[in-house]
């Protein structure tokens, strides 16, 4: 498992350039361009189970769910950030990509540290240090547990 570390204010254009937004929408079209302007090595080397550790305001900028779909599709286990931009946060909930907001854990992380996650219990271990993060509200867990927003909506429509 590799940990990809990036800084503050990583915006949607760095995660997935705007010029592709009307030509790429499926996971396969998105994958080669993931993080293209931030870290060209990412899309070639990322593996299932990898974790992203980033600073403040991750995903700021446009309403752009391609990076979320792409990160989910390449198998990113979770993103651990100091904070997220809100549209990105919502998009991640809607796609079932796991986001952890834990500034202490990000600050404690240094190159080479191992990270262990216990998502259901809100625990994260970085190297030798243990941190906790708040559980998601039940309304949001319901969406995640259904397998994302569209699956959730489908089951609601069926019940009607």
């Amino acid at each position: 498992m590799k940990i990809w570390k990036y800084g503050d204010n990583i915006n949607t254009d760095m995660l997935f350039p705007g010029k592709y937004t009307y030509t790429c929408s499926t996971a396969d079209e998105i994958k080669p361009h993931l993080l293209e302007d931030l870290d060209p090595s990412f899309s070639k080397n990322v593996k299932k189970g990898d974790i992203l550790v980033t600073g403040k305001n991750f995903g700021c900028g446009s309403s752009r769910e391609q990076p979320v779909i792409g990160l989910k599709a390449v198998g990113i286990k979770a993103i651990v950030a100091e904070s997220y931009a809100r549209i990105f946060y919502r998009a991640a909930i809607n796609q079932g990509l796991i986001l952890i907001e834990c500034p202490e854990a990000v600050k404690a992380f240094s190159e080479g540290d191992h990270i262990e996650l216990d998502i259901d219990n809100g625990k994260i271990i970085v190297g030798e240090n243990k941190f906790s993060f708040p559980k998601l509200p039940k309304e949001i867990l319901a969406i995640r547990d259904a397998g994302g927003l569209l699956a959730y909506t489908r089951s609601k429509l069926k019940k009607k």
Binding site: D8, K56, G61, R86, E139, T153
Partner: protein, 422 residues
């Protein structure tokens, strides 16, 4: 309990007596905005649409603006798919290529009303706070779900009160003011929050408020709002909407704000956001003289008639510098027509400007003015992220229409005040 603007509005929409920050509520927004991304949105729910149809024919507002006219076969097919959807499901509020930038259309056609909720699959949906609406950006999947169900959840945000004091000086604009504020607050300074503008807001026209609310998302805000006053009601009157057709929401006197900030507008100078983040803001005087290869005037931030008037005043009987290009995008067909009538277009074309169709143009880097490596663009848009205008080795600087127009004459970034008549 005393509540802020957003608390009061979300309480009403969720049938709660009161709400508190952090609470999750279910709401039925009045409108859902989507644009060229509508094709990708409806492709997610092809089967559900067949089975259940759309929740409401009048919920959606669809505007084709991002890549217009189509730049490739793929974008042309996108547009076609959207037109077919509009026809099949009898979508009431559809605006085809050439009508304008989506946010301008929502305001211009009277969809944005005080006290309403509008969500949109575009981050600058926050613009309608200019009219006293609650509006915010969502993603494509959520837009798809809203088309089917008409409802979604919102977390009640904390509120920040920004108190504007004093008067903007000659030659200064709402753009300089909002760049100054974002430079101070930072790109994440209002994350998840509802921003309310208070104080000496009477000097800000509806266009000014639009520019300021539009950039709310650049400080991370969920929404940014001006409370309804005569300027709002006069504007709505001017587009044929009477005072009796909406119900403004005002915060209570003792509402609780998570932060209160004050800015003295009389101290603000012409400002520029430097690469590659919107909060990297400096006074123009700090970087004056920097050469620029492309100037862009327009977008949902600054493509209104009042902006074009200032630009035309500065460029009247002048020529742009031969080492730079000037692209101009009226934000809507209406604005384009107004500019034609006032002779603005003639002035701009004579000065060497290239008029692009009302839409997003090069703002998102897909077409119509993509930059080359090493080039610099001075733009009135709202975002200067690396790669935003199609090339990651190019630089984007953001400024007011006056600064961009004056700089076009010299091919260098300059303080516009010396080119303006009092």
């Amino acid at each position: 309990m005393d509540m802020t603007f957003v608390e009061k509005l979300l309480a009403e929409y969720s049938d709660n007596k009161d709400v508190i920050p952090g609470q999750i509520v279910t709401v039925h927004p009045d409108h859902l905005l989507t644009h060229d991304n509508t094709a990708a949105i409806i492709q997610k729910i092809t089967n559900e649409l067949k089975e259940y149809g759309v929740h409401s024919k009048s919920l959606s507002i669809i505007v084709l603006d991002h890549v217009i006219p189509a730049a490739s076969e793929k974008t042309a097919v996108n547009h076609k798919v959207i037109r077919d959807f509009v026809r099949t499901y009898d979508i009431k509020n559809f605006f085809d290529v050439g009508v304008g930038v989506c946010h301008q259309i929502v305001v211009e056609k009277g969809f944005a009303l005080p006290g309403k909720i509008i969500l949109g699959s575009d981050s600058h949906t926050c613009s309608y706070g200019a009219i006293g609406a609650f509006s915010s950006g969502i993603d494509r999947t959520e837009a798809a779900s809203l088309m089917l169900t008409g409802e979604t959840w919102l977390k009640v945000p904390n509120s920040i009160k920004i108190n504007l004091q004093g008067k903007l000086q000659f030659g200064l604009s709402a753009k300089d003011m909002i760049l100054h504020i974002i430079g101070d607050i930072s790109a994440s300074g209002a994350n998840y929050c509802s921003v309310e503008y208070h104080g000496d807001v009477g000097q800000l026209s509806l266009d000014d408020r639009f520019t300021i609310a539009n950039m709310g998302v650049e400080m991370g805000a969920k929404n940014a709002v001006f409370l309804v006053d005569d300027i709002t009601t006069n504007y709505l009157n001017s587009i044929g909407i009477s005072r009796s057709s909406y119900k403004p929401v005002f915060p209570d006197k003792n509402a609780l704000y998570s932060k209160e900030l004050e800015y003295n507008l009389s101290e603000i100078e012409p400002m520029v956001a430097c690469p590659h983040s919107v909060d990297n803001v400096k006074p123009v005087s700090d970087i004056a003289g920097l050469d620029i290869q492309q100037c862009l005037i327009g977008t949902c931030t600054n493509g209104r008639l009042s902006d074009l008037r200032i630009v035309a005043q500065i460029l009247k009987n002048k020529k742009i510098h031969p080492d730079t290009r000037l692209l101009i995008l009226p934000a809507s067909k209406n604005i384009y027509e107004g500019a034609l009538k006032e002779g603005i277009i003639e002035t701009l074309v004579r000065a060497g400007g290239i008029i692009l169709p009302p839409g997003c143009g090069p703002c998102l880097g897909a077409h119509q003015g993509v930059l080359a490596p090493g080039e610099r663009c001075l733009s009135t848009a709202n975002r200067n992220f690396k790669g935003r205008m199609g090339c990651k080795e190019a630089e984007i600087y953001l400024a007011s229409p006056a600064t961009v127009a004056a700089s076009a004459i010299y091919g260098k970034i300059i303080d516009p005040r010396k080119e303006m008549k009092k």
